[in-house]
Symmetry: C2
Subunit: 686 residues, 2 copies
Amino acid sequence: MLPRGRPRALGAAALLLLLLLLLIGFFLLGWDPECERLEPDGRAGDLGCSRCPLTPRVPSDGRLRGASALHGDPLAGHGVHNHSACNPQPPLPPKCELLHVAIVCAGYNSSREVITLVKSMLFYRRNPLHLHLVTDTVARNILETLFRTWMVPALGVSFYDAEQLKPQISWIPNKHYSGLYGLMKLVLPGVLPPGLTRVIVLDTDVTFASDIAELWALFAHFSGVILLLLDQLRQVGWEQMWKLTARRELLTLTATSLADQDIFNAVIKERPELLQPLPCVWNLQLSDHTLAERCYSEAADLKVIHWNSPKKVRVKNKHAEFFRNFYLTFLGYDGNLLRRELFGCPSQPPPEAEQLQRALAQLDEEDACFEFRQQRLTVHRVHITFLPHKPPPPRPHDVTLVAQLSMDRLQMLEALCRHWPGPMSLALYLTDAEAQQFLHFVEASPVLSARQDVAYHVVYREGPLYPVNQLRNVALAQALTPYVFLSDIDFLPAYSLYDYLRASIEQLELGGRRKAALVVPAFETLRYRFSFPSSKAELLALLDAGSLYTFRYHEWPQGHAPTDYARWREAQAPYRVQWAADYEPYVVVPRDCPRYDPRFVGFGWNKVAHIVELDAQEFELLVLPEAFTIHLPHAPSLDISRFRSSSAYRDCLQALKEEFHQDLSRRYGAAALKYLTALQQPRSPA
Amino acid sequence: MLPRGRPRALGAAALLLLLLLLLIGFFLLGWDPECERLEPDGRAGDLGCSRCPLTPRVPSDGRLRGASALHGDPLAGHGVHNHSACNPQPPLPPKCELLHVAIVCAGYNSSREVITLVKSMLFYRRNPLHLHLVTDTVARNILETLFRTWMVPALGVSFYDAEQLKPQISWIPNKHYSGLYGLMKLVLPGVLPPGLTRVIVLDTDVTFASDIAELWALFAHFSGVILLLLDQLRQVGWEQMWKLTARRELLTLTATSLADQDIFNAVIKERPELLQPLPCVWNLQLSDHTLAERCYSEAADLKVIHWNSPKKVRVKNKHAEFFRNFYLTFLGYDGNLLRRELFGCPSQPPPEAEQLQRALAQLDEEDACFEFRQQRLTVHRVHITFLPHKPPPPRPHDVTLVAQLSMDRLQMLEALCRHWPGPMSLALYLTDAEAQQFLHFVEASPVLSARQDVAYHVVYREGPLYPVNQLRNVALAQALTPYVFLSDIDFLPAYSLYDYLRASIEQLELGGRRKAALVVPAFETLRYRFSFPSSKAELLALLDAGSLYTFRYHEWPQGHAPTDYARWREAQAPYRVQWAADYEPYVVVPRDCPRYDPRFVGFGWNKVAHIVELDAQEFELLVLPEAFTIHLPHAPSLDISRFRSSSAYRDCLQALKEEFHQDLSRRYGAAALKYLTALQQPRSPA
């Protein structure tokens, strides 16, 4: 649950840049003489002044850890001392003023971390925000998808390519990857749009405990100065300054590397007037360090908590809990709740959001299937590749196993990994809190954490019905191999299936010569403990012994009858079968196959419709003689229970089927007739 | 997810009482002339003034819905108008000032509602709080347990018996139950401790969106006046006043009933000077009503959201979402995160909390079993009878089924209800968010919502290991019948078992004459779909057919071997069996039987130890010839998987066993030797 450690440099540097932007301004702040009177010792004021919601408090000798290089500097010391008491709060920016935030974010883990920061910022914010994200390709893919699907009103996002910045800083020797990204803060002024005059730069490991507007207000109070300074930064001034300093340092420095903080400190050492201490409440760094202690003893005024060292959260300290709890609050916070309009400040929603609103508005609440239609329209937040992932090397006949699951199927993952040594793309339907449990589950499992080729995509829960086909489409869209095996989470494939499929694809010249779907015959066991057959021969033996059945033989034979199990027993070569009503085999198809129809939510007909689509697009159905997959028993899902118990549920499913067929005829004309005819003798799925 | 509706009276009255307490004070508030200049029309000020954190904003003709009786009153109108702009914020109370809150809460549902209010209050609060709860016995039982186990620092709770207040108000005709509790607010001044000078009175359906200290500050600003007023209220003044008015109203009133709000309004009508309009941000009532509209268009300053009508949350209104999200935020908020110390204001923890701290401090983090010992010491928040419950009528031989479960076993509940028509006491291990899902699950199930005799006790999740025995002890402690059937959630008892057990208990004169545990033989099916045997004969047939087995026959026979299934086949009468190592039968015992040993967390030995305890206390073990229960297959729990995979886990279990036996010998001396000897040949559970 606790944030991973990162180099301290990353931590302090961001705030230091902020300090530079805050240059001088602090001295323009007056302070409330009454408070001075109240607290000659600079402490007693807790009673009155320290509680003014926006008082920047600085413990008498408190200043940023990042600024400690300046400890001897009387000016800073003086400045700090003078302002240890209350200052009148600068007025908050107008409700509709757009606040700008810049974050450097690279890789899978930082992309996860930054979400918690963003949630805490959104929870307290009252202003429109614009995020300027400097990202590598990994983070960009993840965050673009996330923010597009999150659809938070009054939140803008721009991306900047970190790759292009590397040359400007890569000449600086630095130990690690993250160090390089830390250094990018040095060049931000040059990267951000020229029109942008102010920006708050944050690390990914920061949690807000108040409205970011209060931080922004520290700009507003002396914005003229900031503008001026930012211009300077933009011209040679700053760029020259830090580069020269860095080079000079490199000559003398014994250290083999420079972190951005070292450079900031060095620059400041030469130009002390550049330093503007920020009240410690604006960068509370938890540690045994007395500075932090002093500061968080006032933590009622806490604004920002900064998680920039792993040790800190393990510190045996009764306060540690307080900070951890803030972090955990937003770690598990339901991000859907942040999709709320600002007040007195209407934002222009993105086109998709408007479309969605219109579509939802058109729904008829009296319609018996309202729930289904609403669920179908729901846009779920999607966090692709939630965990670190190594994309498979490009291989012409490679296959990705595609499936979806929720929390109650987690225990299938280890077995699945043992049965399928190839790449997988799995969509998980989780709440924000469950996503964290899932993270720990994987970390605790040697089997799972050993696998780099399994991509987990978190789709956040919303609405009463399980959006099975939307989940499948997310997993399918993220598959990176030319072929996909469309499976379900409660099936275990034959140990040999991965190799066998790749061989078959090559041999049958799939994709290239022929448009085909390879059928993997499905079986089931009703027993919990059974030894998985290591070959087709063993499987047939178990079948004859009655400890295995063809899948859903008892309650829904038509689902797989067309596979023709009798023929499969004898088959030595792949054989073609014809589509028939209600056929829902597990198939291997090219990645660019048709998507699943999202109108089918909950239980029933979600795969059937997809196979109809394949047939309509004239995919051959080829059954593979050596392939098999086996369904393990499990408690019935709540959706199946609902289906069995509720006739309304069944009626809606029937209605959705008919609409699906109308669409089919529209798209395929006469060719779609056979499906409609098939529907005329409806059998309801078990 | 949305709060249930309640009579509007309850809603407005609480705030109205607050108004009375706020009497006059408002007029002592000056206002910021600059703001007046900024906003001649009293609205433009949104930009600057409306953002002062504690600005009480009142739309130009805005006042409390509850006060609308006064619409014509020029004085109030004037007061309101004058103060539509910004007022300087009264200073917040000192960090350590104790704030008092009074709430009337009765019944199961209000007890649930009030938790969300308390969470929102604790999330934003910085001061020590004391809750004065006027409750009926149901709410008191629930809330006493909850707050005792919640252990929130700097939170005091006092209970006042609503029963005793009824006579003072029951003479007032009123339509419903809740109405009677609403009226209790009239007599609060007499109920609360004489020393108590100020209190904020809240409804259970309120959600805070800011620090309650800001509301308290409105007192502080003119506390002298308040003190004075409260004294008046306490002496005949108020009591006479409202009673006389009420009686007078009753003579003339056409209405057949008086709600507390009617009385407040009537009093105010006669004594207009008593009214002090409160800024609408302090009682934001969501509706299509323009007052609310005006107010929440400024909702950036929102302080309190008041859910006092079901309609409001369904209002088609883009703002509705905003308010609902605040409510849902705290509905699903992890209450454990609120167990945090206040800053700069150390609170005296309750003795249990101190003990716990000491015990935790003594744990050795290097100990391989640290996780187990920590989990064992964890005090989980407990919410007993989470849903409405009708205690069973006292019957001398009645039996309650006792079991525990987590989210992944919910789907067992309906089947269990069909198999066991008697009372049940079930402990559920859930997060706050899961508890809400569970609530909806029950509401959506006709079978479950039809049962009033099933008590659900929510134990909130904390820590990595499943606290199986703590859960069992919670369910056991809440069983209300003289006997309990100690079962597990994945077992379905014979349809006849409930009746058969009661008959056997009577016949064997259990409890009275003999100290015995009745053994219910356990079986298992490995198949998902099977027809449950309706008699012992049918069961034996299935057993012979190999579609049933004696429980865990394959991997852990010694767990039930002593039940002697061979003998059971033939048995016509109950027969006695002897304890043997690792015996863990399902038994029926008097409610006051020994508790489960909480040191056994996660998987393994948790029932075994309990049976040892029963044997050590010389309970006879009597097997019932017609009783049986059948285990259904399910995916292995994560704890079992961990047990099987981790040797450290097994070693810890071994260590715990040994400590358990040392305790046994300490308590039972020589008699306990046999258990120790049995342990010498350890077999590890499967």
